[in-house]
Symmetry: C2
Subunit: 137 residues, 2 copies
DNA sequence: CTATATGCAAAATTTTTGCATCGTT
DNA sequence: AACGATGCAAAAATTTTGCATATAG
């Protein structure tokens, strides 16, 4: 996801570049943590100047995330814990989901292609297991 | 999942074999649809004699399903739609999740082992795509 | 200025919890 | 008879929706 490109697409579609949308874009850009909608909301709330009070609302965050999905700026995933997760990395790649804490980690497309004997996988492949943190515990 | 075996385990643990639990077992046995908790509730409600009225409650269904998971009688999955899904097939196998309708289909363990060049996969592997019904539409 | 987005509040879903009552063992 | 399970109702948590107001272009 490239912030510049997304803003251009939004402009072209006649969508307003509100501070809330900008804050969502800034938080998501380069974010590898697959944040949930709640986490996006918290981040936006923290990022926007608290002087101009309302800051944001959950509805706005969901609206914005749905919009970003529509224009292909984010991939929407759902973790084991049932929360929606948002991935700004829209290039082909896969995920591993921790059985214990629900954390989603990236699995490079090439790694799966190797497993598949050279043929790239169609769609997302989701592996389960334990993330490093939960393996130690 | 074998109903006889599960009932024996429950008895051995001092768990009561209530009509509700029996109904859940009967509905799940051999079920390949990966039903949600709500679907299990509906099925149990329909299956139990409506003459003895209370029939069942959602809390009981969740209790029972959690119990069955604890004793390893069912595998708990979560579909794209965020609902919990219950799979009475506890033998090693994988799933394909429909992007459109959320339906979960079985993928034999051997199919994935083949893809992996003879090495069986660890954990569940989840593929995405479209189920036959949603491919036609 | 006009169309659009925002924030609030409330609804809809799914799952969890507390407690009195009922049923299995 | 005793202990555990049930059903109800209400609480949590996440996501969706309706509407008046505020704001970006």
């Amino acid at each position: 996801m490239d912030v510049q490109a997304v803003e251009q697409v939004l402009r072209k579609q006649g969508c307003a570049l509100t501070p809330q949308r900008r804050a969502v874009l800034r938080f998501l850009d380069g974010n590898l943590e697959h944040p949930s909608a709640g986490q996006v909301f918290d981040a936006v709330t923290a990022a926007l100047p608290s002087t101009s009070r309302p800051v944001s609302s959950r509805a706005t965050i969901y609206n914005t995330l749905a919009l970003l999905e529509q224009i292909g700026a984010v991939r929407v995933l759902r973790g084991t814990d049932g929360e929606m997760r948002y991935d700004p990395n829209t290039t082909p790649h896969h995920h591993r989901c921790c059985d214990v804490c629900g954390r989603l980690e990236d699995v490079p497309a090439e790694a799966v292609t190797l497993l598949l004997d050279g043929r790239p996988a169609v769609g997302e492949v989701r592996f389960t297991g334990r993330c490093p943190a939960c393996t130690t515990a």
